[in-house]
């Protein structure tokens, strides 16, 4: 008896409210289960099969066969290496540019809106438009960029047509496109730092660098962690730029892992194998994100 009496007030959930909650969530949940969670589960299960897009009925369990094949597939290694190369180059360039721009624009000035719109404009341009546009600008023979370089006395560069320069070029173009977005997030972070901190530091005779090092940077820590993680995730997904600009070449120098998965699954219809590379890749990305969070936390 006494036990029952106690349980009634402790009971947290009301049936009506629960039903209502699920009614509100139903459309989104159903769509997400089918089109988001569905593919995640399908990826995991396909990874252990020989599923082939044109022969869905002949699917059979193949254990770790796909993963053994990954270990021997040189293209996987190349694609992983290219992806890491891209991430390692684009992360500091893009985030550094974004922080620099944010610091410059954070001051009161007459043309602030114009500057912000200029830096942010490339963000809203689609990846396809931006890739086609830069392809034209970077054309080794008749592109604007080589014409500009020559005006400064710098010899013509091969850019996307050279295995050495293609990936750095894509890094540069991607940072150009994306930095405005992170700049906006940094700006939002900068706005939350109380001006009194800087005033107090000025009275104590702190230099601009000291203020930046001991006030701005520590106050931006949460913002920076957020930007690091989101930019990292975004960078790992690189596909449209190489797909449109280089088709992964020259000599596979811009073949990224997501692009290779796409090719394997779509062009070669080898869904099982594509899924197994995807699974491996997702695991690697998640480990890196967790590791990065831990590193930043311990700092």
């Amino acid at each position: 008896m006494g036990k029952n009496n106690q349980q009634i007030p402790v009971q947290k959930y009301k049936l009506r409210e629960t039903l209502m909650a699920y009614a509100f969530m139903a459309p989104a949940l159903i769509l997400i289960i089918i089109f988001v969670i569905g593919p995640i589960i399908a990826s995991i299960s396909f990874a252990f099969t020989d599923y082939y897009l044109l022969k869905p009925k002949e699917i059979s369990f193949s254990g770790l066969e796909n993963f053994k094949y990954i270990a021997e597939d040189k293209m996987v290694l190349t694609a992983f290496a290219n992806t890491f190369k891209f991430v390692v180059m684009v992360l500091p360039l893009q985030i550094g540019t974004a922080l620099g721009l944010a610091l410059l624009v954070n001051r009161e000035n007459k043309f602030n809106t114009f500057f912000k719109i200029s830096f942010f404009s490339p963000v809203v341009v689609s990846l396809v438009v931006m890739s086609i546009l830069w392809m034209v600008l970077l054309n080794p023979g008749s592109g604007l960029l080589n014409a500009m370089l020559q005006a400064f006395g710098i010899p013509k560069q091969p850019f996307l047509s050279s295995p050495k320069q293609a990936m750095p070029t894509i890094v540069f173009v991607s940072a150009w496109q994306g930095a405005g977005y992170q700049m906006m997030i940094f700006l939002a972070g900068l706005k939350t730092i109380p001006a009194s901190l800087y005033e107090a530091a000025s009275i104590d005779g702190a230099t601009a660098w000291t203020k930046f090092r001991y006030i701005t940077l520590p106050s931006l820590q949460n913002t920076t962690v957020f930007i690091l993680i989101t930019t990292l995730i975004g960078a790992f997904k690189l596909i449209i730029q190489p797909m449109v600009m280089t088709s992964g070449g020259p000599k596979n120098s811009t073949l990224t892992i997501v692009y290779y998965i796409y090719q394997t699954g779509v062009r070669y219809r080898n869904v099982g194998y594509a899924a197994s590379i995807g699974l491996l890749f997702t695991a690697v990305v998640m480990v890196i994100i967790l590791f990065q969070r831990k590193l930043v936390r311990e700092d």
Binding site: F24, M25, I34, S43, I117, M184, V266, F281
Partner: protein
């Protein structure tokens, strides 16, 4: 002396910012300016400042030649119409479906809430691009390949937007709802009559970001459509860039048509976009 120094500093600051602005804008300026020029002029002006200027020495009737030609050669009207239609449907459904889910997750107590929230966070960090082929397999088994629902349905339930809506709803004061509940109003009425009108800023933000995302989408339509008549503008632009003979001025005209509406949307609704981005950052 200090006055002079300050003056120099300010000048350097502005010059630097204008140079940086140019670095970010010059590809777009060049794109727009050269979409109004004949191809020969485009290439002959490459090493002159005129590359960035409109062709003022040409009669204005000739400015739109590249546009006329590109519209004749490719079905851009259809592509624009398709993109506007897809974007509008996705925006309306997306806002409705995700705001409702977010409202329940923000304001209701129910079993399973914690699990759903952690699944949402998990999905946020999974690189979904790797799942595009399995998604195709699922859409195929639902017989939705080469259909508009097949294109749009996967874009509607969006964990990121649920996340943004939820942040906003959690900060709404609860008094109005409580008063309405006491008056006997149902939850759906409260949501549509009280919460939605209070949420215009976040709705605007999500609507704009979703529209831009839908307008710019490329991978999924390429994969799911075989019928050229259904292709959105981005896919047609890629065709335009790969169909011989490729005329650079026509390509620039196509890119400009795709970009100008988006830049206008951005310039008009700048405030909402910035707000949306700030929300995501501060978390």
């Amino acid at each position: 002396m200090t006055m002079a120094l300050k003056y120099v500093k300010t000048t350097v600051y502005y010059v630097m910012l204008f140079i940086l602005s140019f670095l970010f804008l010059f590809p777009l300026l060049w794109m727009v300016a050269n979409s109004f020029k004949p191809n020969e002029m485009l290439f002959s002006q490459l090493n002159s400042y005129k590359a960035f200027l409109l062709p003022f020495n040409l009669p204005i009737t000739q400015w739109f030649d590249a546009y006329r030609q590109v519209f004749e050669r490719f079905n851009l009207f259809k592509g624009i119409g398709n993109s506007i239609m897809y974007g509008s449907i996705v925006v309306v459904c997306n806002v409705l479906v995700n705001s409702m889910a977010a409202y329940a997750l923000a304001k209701f107590h129910f079993p399973g809430k914690k699990i759903i929230l952690s699944i949402i966070i998990f999905i946020l960090i999974v690189p979904m691009e790797t799942g595009i082929v399995p998604l195709f397999v699922i859409v195929n088994s639902l017989h939705l390949v080469n259909t508009i629902p097949g294109l749009l349905a996967p874009a509607i339930g969006n964990v990121f937007n649920i996340f943004l809506f939820r942040q906003f709803f959690m900060n709404l004061p609860g008094e109005l709802e409580e008063a309405a509940l006491i008056d006997g109003a149902g939850r759906f009425r409260i949501f549509f009559a009280i919460i939605i009108p209070l949420s215009k800023p976040i709705i605007a933000t999500i609507a704009i970001l979703t529209f831009i995302g839908s307008w710019n989408d490329f991978l999924w339509p390429v994969l799911i459509f075989t019928d050229n008549g259904k292709m959105p503008l981005q896919v047609i632009l890629n065709v335009l860039n790969n169909t011989d003979p490729v005329y650079t001025n026509q390509v620039m005209a196509g890119l400009t048509i795709s970009t100008i509406p988006i830049i206008l949307v951005y310039a008009f609704f700048q405030k909402y976009i910035v707000e949306g981005i700030s929300h995501t950052g501060i978390k």
